[in-house]
Symmetry: D3
C-alpha cells in the first residue's frame, strides 16, 4: 500500500517559464529511461521478488517509491516551465521571430491537450509504454537492467543540465543527477553481491554442459575490411566470468546448410514452386 | 556495406513441426530482447562511434552483423516449426481436443498473415519496435545496455530450451545460449576496460561538483513497515565507484514545499480557482 | 513524495493457481481501464491542479495513491495464479488435452519474459500506454473521464468475477468492485459540485456567442432507412444543460461546397491535374 | 451501408494557409479525442447494440456517421492550410527567421509523407490508434465515455480557436464547438434516461451483495500531510446513487499481509532464495 | 458528408457461433490490411485529391465508403460468432477439453472488454493504427499501395475461407473475396491509365538527370555463395519502364570511404576518443 | 549469415551540418517506407521463400542486404548533419532568432537520447515498427508491396532532395533515388514474370467459382452527389486480368437485412433490452 505526502522531497521551481525546455524535460518523465520507467520497473521487479530475498524486495520497493516522487517533481517543474504561456493569437504572435520560434517549437499538446501541464510522454511526444520496463524474475539480470537505466538516465539528465541556464531547473537536475549517481553505485553493489554468490553468466542455474561450450568463447570476425575488434582485451585471455579463454576467429566456418523450406499446404495460397506456376 | 552468405552459420532444423513452439520462439526474434533488438542496437551503436574508438566500432559491427544471422536462423526455425500446419477446416478439426488446443493456441497471424513464416513480432504478437533499442553515444552506458540485453536474452532462450523436447530445436538453442554466454563475457570485458579508463559513474565527464553530492550516497527508506533494505552491502561501506561512503537514511527529510501552481491564462479554459467558479 | 507499506491493503490470495485466469486478470493491471491507467491518470491530474483548488488536488492524489496499491494487489494475485506452472517439456505435456489447452492458452510471456510474474500489459499482451490516460487541466472534463474509467473498470472486474470460481480471487475482486462503486459515486458527486458551480457544457468559460448556436441543439438524421433516434428524449424538450431546446433535423442541409483543393507546388511531385499528365 | 455526398456539411476554408496551424489542427483529426476517435467509437458502439435497443443504435450510427463528415471537413481544412507551402531550398529559406521558424515548426511529414495533406495522426505525429476507442456493450458506461470524449474534444477545439486568427478556420471551429456542445447535451440526456431506468452504478445488473459493501462508501485518506479531500461533498452525506452514506477514513486499516510469494520451478531460472545462491 | 443505411449491403449471418473464428475474423477488421485500413486509406487519399482529378477523387471516395460498410458487415459477423459464449465459471468449464481449448483460445478482450462484440484490433489483439495507411498525394504511388492492400487482403480472406466450415461465414467471405478481386482489377486499371499518361517510375515529375543514372539499372550481387538472382528476367534486357537496360554486377565496387565521424561537443558527454579516456 | 565491410557503398558526406535536415532525413531511415522497412521486408520475405523459387529468394536477399547498407549510409549522414551542434545554454542561444528556430525545430532526442546520432525513428520521432513490413508468403502479393514501398520511398527521397541545398546530401540522395528507380523497375519486372505465369488476381490458386463472381466486376456508386468515377476506364470494358467485363452500378441493391443481434448472457452485464431496464 502507498501513502503520499504533499511536500516535494526536493524543490522544483524554475526562475522563469520556458516552454521549449518544458518539452525537453518531458524526456525525463516519459522517455524510455524517464522516471515513469524506473518507478514502474523497480515496483514490478519488487512485487515479483519471492520468499527468501526480502532485502532485495525492500530495496526495489524503496527505490521504486522514491522514483514516483521524482515523476511528481518533474511534473511540477514542467507545469511551472509552462506557466503563463499565452496560446492566444499564435498566428499573429509568430510574426515576432523569437516568440515565433517558441510557438513553433513547443509541444503543441502541452497547450491543446494537457492545459499547460506535463504529459505521460517523451520529448517528441511518444506516449510512455509498458514495453520500456524490464522485469524477468532473475535479479542479477534485472539489476543489470537497472544499472543501464540509471546510466542512460543520468546521461540524459546531464545533457539537459548542459542545455539549461535557469538556476531553479539546474538545482533540481543537480538533485536528480546525484540520485542517479547513487543508484548506479547501488545497483553495481547489488550486482557484485549477486555475482559473488552465484556467478556472472546469467542465468547461473542453467547447466553449462547443455550449451555449445565450444563456441562460447569465440569472437567471430564478421568484417570484410578490418579487424580492429581483435585489438581489444576481449580477443584473448581469461574471461571476466573466469569460465574460459577468449578466442578470435578470423574466418568463420559454416555449420548450417543453405535452407530449403518445404512448400506449405495449398490452403495457404502461398506462391507455388516456379515449375508449377501456370495460369 | 553488407554481404550475405546463404549458408546458415549454424543449423536450424527441428525434428518435427510444432506451431505452438513456433509462437514461443517468436519472442527470440521480435521480442524486447530478441535478435532484431540486439542486431539493430549494436549496428546503431556502431554507426555512431566516433573517431579514435575504432576497435569498439569494429566490435559492435561484428556482433551486430552476427546477430542478423541469428534472426535468419530463427526465422528459418519458425518456418520449419510451422511446416505442414493444416489450416483447412479448423472448425471441424477443433473437435479433437489435442488438435483443438493447438489450433486455439497457435498465433493466428502465422496462418493468416505470413503464410506459415516468421513474423517481426514477439510471442504474443506485438510488433517489434525501434523504441526497444538503446544507443546513446556513450559506450560505457551502452555496453551496460548490451550486457543487460544478453542477460535477458539468455534467460529467455534458456526458458524456451526448458520448454522444448525437440532435439533439433534444442541444438539451435544450445548455440544461441552459448553465444549469449560469450556476449555477456564480451560486454563485461569491454565494460571493465572502459571503467578502468574513465571511472564507473556514467557519464564520467560531468563535473561532480555540479551535482548534489550531499545526497549522492544516501539510501532513503521509503518503507513504512520494514527496513530489510538496510541489511544489504549497499547500506554502508565504500561504494563500488570508490567515490564515497554509503549511508542509510531511515527518516527522509523534506526540502521541497507543497507545490502551488499558478493558474494558467484564461485562453486555456482550465478549471478556475474554486472561489471563481460560477455559472 | 511517496511512502510504501509492505502490507497489502487487502488480501490477494487465490486458493489455487490458474495460469489462464492470470492472463485474464492482466486486463485489470495494464488494460485501457486497468489500475495502471487510473493510478497514473489521477496522479497526473492531481499534479496539474492549480492554486485555489486544493481539495480537488488532495482528492486526486488520495485516490491515485490508493490505485497504486491496487496494482500491487493485482500483481501479487497474478504472481500467485502463476505459482508452480511447470514450463518443462511443454511439447510432451500438451498431449494431455486439459494441460494442453492451459499451455496453449496461457500468456507465453508470463513464462518466457517475466518468470511467472505480472506484466505491465493487458489480457492479450498489449503493453500499457501513456496514451490511455486523460488529463486536460479542466477538472469537470477530467472527472467525467474518471467516472467513465471507473464505469468501464467495474464492468471488466465484474465480468472476470463471473468467470472465476476461485474464492480467493473472488474475494479480491469483491474489494475492487466495491471500490469501483465508491469511485463512481465519488466522481458523480464531484461532477455535480462542479456542474452546479460552473454549468454543464465543458469548458464553461468559453463565450457561447462565438460558437454556431443555431446548430448547437440539432440532432441531424444521418440515416437513410430509419429514424429510431428521433424517439429518444434527446429529440425534443429542454437540454440537460438548460441552454436550449433539442431539435430533430430529418433532412440535413448543406452549407459547404464540394471542395476543390489547389494543386501543390511542383517540388512535392504529387500527381498533376489529369490534363497535364503526360510522360 | 454508407453513402457519401461530396458536399461538405459545413464549409472548411481558411482565408490563408498556415502550416503551423495545420499541425495543431491534426489533434482534432487523429488525437485521442479527435474525430477519428469519436466516429469509430460511436460506430463500433452502434454495431454492438443488441435487439430491443434500436433507438440507441440509430442514435449512435447517426452521430458516428456525422463525425465521419467532420474528419472530412478537417482533412480539407488541413489540406488548405498547407496550400502553397514551398518545400524548396529549406536550408536557404531558413535564414529568414520567420520563415525559418515556420519550416522548423511544421510537421515534416506533411511535406515528406502526405504531400501537403492531412495525416491520420495527432499534433505531435503519433498515429491514431484503435486503443483510443471505448465500446463495452454496456450503454450507460459507453455514454459516459462519449460525454467525456465530447468534453475533452470541445476543450481542445476551444483552445485551438483561441490560438487562431484566421476567420475561415474560426468559422469551422465554431461549427465543431457547437456540435460538441450539442453532443454533450445529447449524451447527458441519454445518460439521464438510462440512469433513471437502471440506476447509476455501472453495471447495474451485478448483485451488490457480492461486492464488499462495507468498503463501498469510504474515502481512504492516503495523504500524510493534508486532509483537504475531507472538505468535499463526497466525504459525508448520501451518495449520488442513493445507495449509502459517504464516510471519511483518516487512518486506513490493513487487511492484507505482507505478501511472500513461493519460489517458481527451477526451470524458469529465476533468482534462487538468498540462502541457496552459490556459484 | 456521409449517410448511413441500416441495411447491410450483404448478409453477415453465421449458422452458429464460434468464438475462435471470431478471433481470426478480427484480422479482416483491424489488421494491417483489414477493412479499417482500406476504408481510411481510400478516404484520406480521396480527400487529398486536388483540382483536375475529380474522377480519381470520386473513385476513391466510392470505394472508401464501400469499405466502411465492410467493417460494419464484419463487426456484425463477429458479434454473431460470439453470440451465447458463456463466460461464467470458466475455471470449471475448462475441465471439458473441447470447451477448455475454446476458452483458452478465444480473445479474452471479446469477453472482458467489448462484451462479445468486435474490437478495432487484429487477430492477436494489436489495436489498429493510423500508421497502416498510405496516402502520399501521388496517385500512381498510392494506387500501387491500394493494389497491394487488396492483394494482401484477398490472401487473408481466402486463408480464413479455407479455415471456415460455417456456410454463413463462407458466404460473406465469398462476397469480400469477390470485391477484393474487383478492387485488384480496378487499381490495376487505374495504374495502367496513369502509367500510360505519365510513365512508370514514381514520381515521374523528377528530372532524371539529377539522379545517378549510372547506377539506376544495376542489380548488385550482395550474395557470397549464390547467384540465382542473375537468372531472372531482371538481370538483362530492357526495363519495364523502357528507360534503360538491366545490368548484373557480380562484384560491387566501393565509392564510399570507411566513415570517421568527428567527436561531438563535450556537453553531450559521449565517450571520448580512446586516447583521452582517463579517470 | 551476414558479413560487413566498413566501406560505405556510396559516400555520405554533407558539406556542412544542419540539424533540421537531420530530423527530416530520419524519415528515410525509420519511417514507414524508410530503409529499415525495406531491408527487413525483403529479408523476411526472402527467408520465407520455399523450395523451387531459389531465384526469387536470392533476389530478395540481395536487395535486402543492399538496403542494410543504405541504413548505414543514412545513419552516417545524420551523424554528420548533427556534427558540432552545440547543446549548451539553449535558453540563452534561443535569443538569436535563426539559432532559436534551429534549436526549437530540431529533434530533441538527437541531443538528449542519441548523442547527435541517428535514431531508429521517423521524422516526427515515431519509433520504427515491425508492423510496417509486409511478408505474406505469396510472392506476387509481396512484390506489389515492394513496388509500392519503392514508389513511396522514392517520392519521399525526392521531396527531401528538393528541400536540400547541401551538395553532399544531394549527392547521396541522388544515389538513393537512382536505386529506388532501379528497384521499381526490378519489382515491375518480377511482377510481370509472375503475372504471366500465374495470372493477375492474387492469390491465383483460389477456385474462382467459390467467390461471388456476380459482384466481382461491379463498381458500386456510393456517392450521392456525383458520378465522376463512372468516367474512368474501370467503368466498362475488359478487366486487366482479362477475367470479365467492368460494370458500373449507379444504385446499389441491398442483400442484407438490418442486423438484430441477440442479447448476450447476463454474466456479461451488457445493457439489457430497453423494456427490461429497471433499477
Amino acid at each position: 500500500m502507498f501513502l503520499h505526502d504533499k511536500h516535494l522531497q526536493f524543490e522544483a521551481k524554475p526562475v522563469k517559464p520556458d516552454p521549449l525546455m518544458a518539452k525537453k524535460v518531458q524526456e525525463l518523465i516519459g522517455g524510455q529511461f524517464g522516471e515513469m520507467s524506473v518507478a514502474m520497473q523497480y515496483l514490478f521487479q519488487g512485487w515479483g521478488v519471492r520468499k527468501g530475498n526480502e532485502k532485495y524486495k525492500d530495496l526495489l520497493l524503496d527505490i521504486g517509491t522514491e522514483e514516483l516522487g521524482h515523476i511528481e517533481m518533474l511534473a511540477t517543474m514542467v507545469g511551472r516551465l509552462l506557466e503563463g504561456t499565452d496560446i492566444k493569437h499564435q498566428e499573429a504572435a509568430a510574426k515576432d521571430p523569437v516568440v515565433g520560434s517558441i510557438l513553433a517549437g513547443m509541444n503543441p499538446q502541452h497547450a491543446i491537450v494537457s492545459g499547460l501541464n506535463a504529459r505521460p510522454a517523451d520529448s517528441v511526444g511518444n506516449p510512455w509504454m509498458g514495453s520500456y520496463i524490464i522485469s524477468s524474475g532473475n535479479l542479477l539480470a534485472d539489476f543489470r537492467a537497472n544499472l543501464n537505466a540509471e546510466s542512460q538516465g543520468r546521461i540524459q539528465a546531464v545533457r539537459i543540465y548542459e542545455m539549461a541556464d535557469d538556476p531553479g531547473l539546474k538545482d533540481m537536475l543537480a538533485v536528480l543527477i546525484a540520485r542517479d549517481s547513487f543508484h548506479q553505485n547501488l545497483w553495481m553493489q547489488a550486482i557484485a553481491e549477486l555475482e559473488a554468490a552465484e556467478g556472472k553468466i546469467v542465468p547461473s542455474t542453467f547447466d553449462r554442459s547443455q550449451e555449445r561450450t565450444d563456441i562460447a568463447f569465440s569472437l567471430f570476425n564478421h568484417s570484410a575490411s578490418s579487424e580492429e575488434s581483435s585489438l581489444g582485451s576481449w580477443a584473448e585471455g581469461t574471461t571476466p566470468a573466469g569460465d574460459g579463454e577468449f578466442k578470435y576467429v578470423e574466418k568463420i566456418p559454416f555449420e548450417g546448410e543453405i535452407p530449403k523450406l518445404e512448400n506449405p499446404p495449398k490452403s495457404l495460397h502461398n506462391t507455388l514452386p516456379e515449375k508449377d506456376l501456370k495460369k
